[in-house]
Subunit: 307 residues, 2 copies
Amino acid sequence: MAITVVGSVAFDSVETPAGRRERCLGGAATYFSLAASYFTDVRVIAVVGEDFGKRQEAVFQARNIDTRGIERAAGKSFFWEGSYLESLNEAKTHITDLNVFAAFEPKIPDFYRDSEFLFLANIDPVLQRRVRDAMPDVKLVAGDTMNYWIKDHRPALLEVLKGLDILLINDTETKMIAGNNNLVQAARAVMALGPKELVVKHGEYGATLFHAADPKAHSTTCFRAPAMPLEEVIDPTGAGDSFAGGFFGYLASQPEQSPEAYRRAMFYGSVMGSFACERFGTERLQQLTRAEIDERFNLFRELTHLA
Amino acid sequence: MAITVVGSVAFDSVETPAGRRERCLGGAATYFSLAASYFTDVRVIAVVGEDFGKRQEAVFQARNIDTRGIERAAGKSFFWEGSYLESLNEAKTHITDLNVFAAFEPKIPDFYRDSEFLFLANIDPVLQRRVRDAMPDVKLVAGDTMNYWIKDHRPALLEVLKGLDILLINDTETKMIAGNNNLVQAARAVMALGPKELVVKHGEYGATLFHAADPKAHSTTCFRAPAMPLEEVIDPTGAGDSFAGGFFGYLASQPEQSPEAYRRAMFYGSVMGSFACERFGTERLQQLTRAEIDERFNLFRELTHLA
């Protein structure tokens, strides 16, 4: 079943201990859709500037991602510059130029409207909410956010949370939304705001899925997927969005979103996040095969399962 | 098969967000031996002062732990005071009074000499090495250390590492020993110094076992056990030592230390670490049953395993 994703398509300049790259194709919607494209049909809603050319377009085409919802505007595309020189776990942002994104008014093409899955990547919660409201018939809605919106745009963010089935965020964001430093208590508080499932991403330590079903019984409400200890992290940019793409893409590919499908989705999320880190920008995500993905899935199972 | 453990038996005063306790029974050898006692026979080598009385002795007796190797010296027992008010992941040490430990000369009782397993808890590496050399016939030797010895007693520590089968330390310690910020590379460098197995403890995110067998093939050299997301962490003191006790205790209880036994040992380590956090000091570890332990083991399996 098809996923529509709304979010940023951008250029990133990034420096890591492994080197530096200027103006790679980036953005949350880009990483998400590339990762999800190995599992299901993906349709993107975004805005780009005149610097988005055939080379960038080709990256989406090669993965059969529908880009008819990517609007071309006068000016430059969203640009981000950051580095991971002190820690690979957290980017230091040097520049964020919204450019054409500053006046973004998401438009949903008619031919996207039969999408059964909707992913609201990390953008202004006002826009997330608008897209969610414009697609009332979707079967499952997931979304992401970040510290900036949590701190300074809380009322708008709370409106988004009400309309989410699944929220994917990291430890710090979970604790920040809840104002509680205990992860389990914070997770419960966040789920009380709307999301029925909460995926907390722990970076190099994997991710935990919290179910809202019976928040008191740990055995039925948590599932933890590992991340693979990586010999070399080239560039962690987009790992979280790639996790989301693998997770939601796999879920959308399944006839039924059973608890077991969610567990496997957590593993596929972790798998796609680990691939994203292996090269700069989207390089690794552009060149995968489903066989490689399933091979790593099995490796993750081997890494964590008792006989 | 019996384990001999050498390490500190101490009094701890601790403050956490859940409250404060004065002069609880503590020390690495105490936590280790209580946790291991649910799996196998444990014998302790330590020194205590005149403040170590019948009440403390009774804690060991109740778990059938052999305390004949605990020497009584004139003066006070090792005392540690710390708090976890800013973060439950890292203790802030206020006071470390070595007291009788300052002049500790470990003596191995003859009736400990048939122990097939030896655990060198976190003490001066010179003493760890001396005990290790005095028990040349043990089948498996594991040990722990900490930042203080890594920074200021490196030559003595390197001597200890040469004689270890298994080293159990945390992420920071692994990277510090190796002088390398990538965990996989650091783990390999640490194993090159002696230990054939390295257990890296990640606190609330579980632990990773690295095998030295074929360091290049991730699939065969890593195993990751989860920690359970805890609703309430009362006191994390001793969680790492309890992990070590569960891990090594389970290994020692098995007829064969197969790769599968190591995997299960990682889970049992994580289980005992999680119990340790649920009450102040050793309270929870004193009152467990093997049925409760196995129930949590199954919960950990449920938490991480695909169908």
